[in-house]
Symmetry: C2
Subunit: 457 residues, 2 copies
């Protein structure tokens, strides 16, 4: 059943795509700009379904009376081919009705280009700006592409919980959830301390032990105090787990194909939006081609990465000296992805000491079977590993990392009941979009950004 059968006015996108010159059409949307000439008037109308909206032509300038940027309108008219370069169709207006006026003085989104910082201050209106509108369509499309990848490959979607009494990473930067304050968790709503999830991995592993391939697409939460363009307190994450997988190369191929096919899906379905962002950056076009290319992404070990970093051009001037055994800093990741490889690069087999308890150690005893995917832009795009699936080994790892055994007993016991080698990963959804848009801040990528000191709307 089409939207019009539901009684809904078709979107401009559909009108432009399906309509023919001469068709009578009815459209609705918001005025982006108005231009009144002596004998005619023009307005650009947008309804969020296309990058550019549509130009409507009024043969009598009187018809434009009261039209201002931001007002909502319903228009009847005739579709015609446009003589303009930037659009294929326009509408010759027969009637135009102002549904909701927008006061020209107080409407904050004028035709001129606003800074992204300014747009953040009007978060309830910025979806009408061209940039945030394009980001929103890319988000929609990228999510569609991700689901398609997982469905095509027979992953089952699992709705892992936001409320949890576990803290997967053990990072400690969690939000508490309470109805009465945090003093007495045992008398609070859940009779225990409960926090917002930082990752659904442990819960996904439960379902991987019954469905073999599972994924989620959920909000995750970090009470991260740092005020950078890469961090949000609430963000969306896609995570996946696969049972019966015992090699890192299989995991890498799943991750790589997810990124590749989702990129290709955007190229196929959101070309104008990608071009819009590529306009401001020389490197975005080639990066997108590289990501969608069938050629495998570069894959190096952590040890090789340290070696490359230590031999980096002295001009790189790292603030932190790269040393085996230490985590890679953002500046190191940026050097690898942006400067050295100029594209996506998997870094595998990090030292055991800097990684979480659940990762499977390699036979060398010094490293774990894990990887990060580094990319130009957000740097770390995704991280994953083989999981320790042996009961005694996992018990030892939990103990040696100093976790409370009690809160993880259910997780540990999965290894007693038909355990399998398994592997999984998580990707920050906003970081993926940061990569494809080239935007500096994830605050412009999520509809309502939350970070330290800020939770508006």
């Amino acid at each position: 059943m089409s939207s019009s059968k539901l009684g809904l006015v078709p979107t401009l996108r559909r009108v432009i795509a399906d309509g023919a010159s001469g068709d009578d059409v009815k459209v609705s949307g918001w005025v982006r700009s108005v231009r009144v000439q002596k004998r005619m008037a023009f307005a650009e109308i947008s309804d969020g379904s296309t990058l550019r909206g549509i130009q409507v032509v009024m043969e009598d300038p009187q018809m434009a009376r009261g039209l201002t940027t931001g007002c909502s309108v319903e228009i009847a008219g005739t579709l015609s081919d446009s003589p303009g370069r930037e659009q294929s169709k326009e509408i010759q207006v027969s009637s135009i009705k102002i549904v909701g006026p927008a006061d020209a003085e107080s409407y904050p989104l004028q035709k001129k280009r606003h800074t992204l910082e300014f747009l953040r201050e009007i978060g309830h209106l910025r979806p009408r700006s061209q940039t945030i509108s394009a980001v929103t369509r890319l988000r929609h499309c990228a999510e569609k592409g991700l689901h398609k990848f997982f469905h095509d490959n027979e992953f089952v979607r699992v709705h892992t919980p936001a409320l949890t009494s576990n803290d997967c990473e053990g990072g400690g930067e969690t939000f508490s959830v309470t109805t009465s304050g945090t003093e007495n968790p045992e008398t609070d709503f859940f009779n225990k301390r409960v926090n917002l999830t930082v990752s659904g991995q442990l819960h996904l592993e439960v379902f991987a032990g019954a469905f073999k391939r599972v994924y989620n697409f959920n909000p995750a939460f970090r009470a991260e105090p740092s005020q950078t363009g890469r961090h949000l307190s609430e963000f969306w994450m896609v995570e996946a787990e696969c049972a019966f997988v015992d090699s890192l190369s299989t995991l890498v191929s799943v991750e790589e194909e997810m990124v590749r096919s989702t990129t290709q899906f955007l190229v196929d379905n959101a070309g104008p939006e990608l071009d819009f962002f590529a306009r401001d950056s020389d490197r975005l076009g080639p990066l997108m081609r590289r990501l969608a290319d069938q050629q495998p992404y570069v894959c190096i070990t952590y040890t090789e990465a340290i070696d490359i970093l230590q031999r980096a051009d002295p001009l790189a001037k790292f603030q932190f000296k790269p040393r085996w055994g230490q985590g890679l800093q953002s500046e190191h990741e940026r050097y690898l992805a942006t400067t050295h490889f100029e594209g996506p690069v998997f870094v595998t087999d990090y030292p055991v000491a800097i990684k979480p308890f659940y990762m499977l150690p390699n036979p060398d005893g010094r490293t774990v079977a894990c990887m990060d995917l580094l990319v130009p832009g957000p740097c770390e795009l995704l991280g994953g590993s083989l999981r320790e699936h042996d009961y005694s080994q996992l018990k030892g790892a939990i103990e040696s990392k100093g976790f409370e055994m009690e809160s993880l007993d259910w997780y540990l016991s999965l290894r007693k009941h038909g355990t399998t080698p398994h592997a999984g990963f998580g990707m920050g959804f906003e970081r993926f979009l940061q990569m494809v848009t080239g935007l500096e801040s994830v605050r412009d990528i999520i509809p309502f950004p939350r970070h330290a000191g800020r939770c508006q709307y």
Copy 2:
């Protein structure tokens, strides 16, 4: 690219669907049951991709040594047509490897049918039970069907936030989010009181003012103390908003088509799971046919509903006497959907006094342009309304309901900048699944149920 190209073993579902008798196959999964005879042995293997799993046949009973319910196995063998009634294919085993044993004594999921209450106590293993496995596939499939409906009708997905400083319904049953306790919100992480969302509606309205048709599919949270089978503290909700909609009948047709097409999607893609649940209930089959049928659902006004209830068979013996001006109790909703109409029924135009501030009053001044959809099972499945889109009227409504104007100023101001008549609704995802499975408790429908006093795993 198929899963096998990714290096993943194909699912049983695919093996059964795509394989031919005589094919060499490799499969993996968990043993559901083992039967050893004198000259042969049989096992049922499941990997969560099908309702029944597959029977594997071992010509030498020695091959079954060590096989127990719950252990994980990798099997190589030959596909053959099954002589059994309940399955189309089986596997003649050439080799079987136990990947992860399951101790026969301590493995809690034995072949016998367990109660749902018992399964809740082993939440980390219950996804392997036939019931929870079927629910999980139905969840996956229903979500797919919902996205398909919204994509087909050009709705844009918006990721509304979980963390918010607003409380849409004003119900007050919200969870606080904090890093330092709730005493001093102004020195806490966000410098203000922040809670978990009860609804993304207000945020969706922001995006409806730019994209015309938007939806979300998010977790929502209620610190609801009641311990019934209909309430969860964390649940998934799908909500939608449409701009330029000024009639309740248009909204009803969108809602109805969403329920109808998602039901039809389940019928087309999850038939065995639906049959599994319909086995225990006479009314499920007819209900699903009614939901998927093209015939419009019954639609009555609240006033008509009260009239029906007041004239109900005295045997109905309501605890609460139905009276105009009072909300409908669960027992009233159940009577209407289950006893009187025996199917879905829209109830529209409730009294203004019992509905939230954002709903559009009808010309009669006594009622608002809203509806609930009542169905057998969960009773209230979804609720929606036209929204007040006039600045002064909305301001008056906010004041008269006693809300702080300051926290809603952004929402109110949307009515100043190109407002449009608009409408929207929200549906509890677990309630939809409760309806199609006939399960009594939503605790068996969400992977990890959270409710008062309970937040395990």
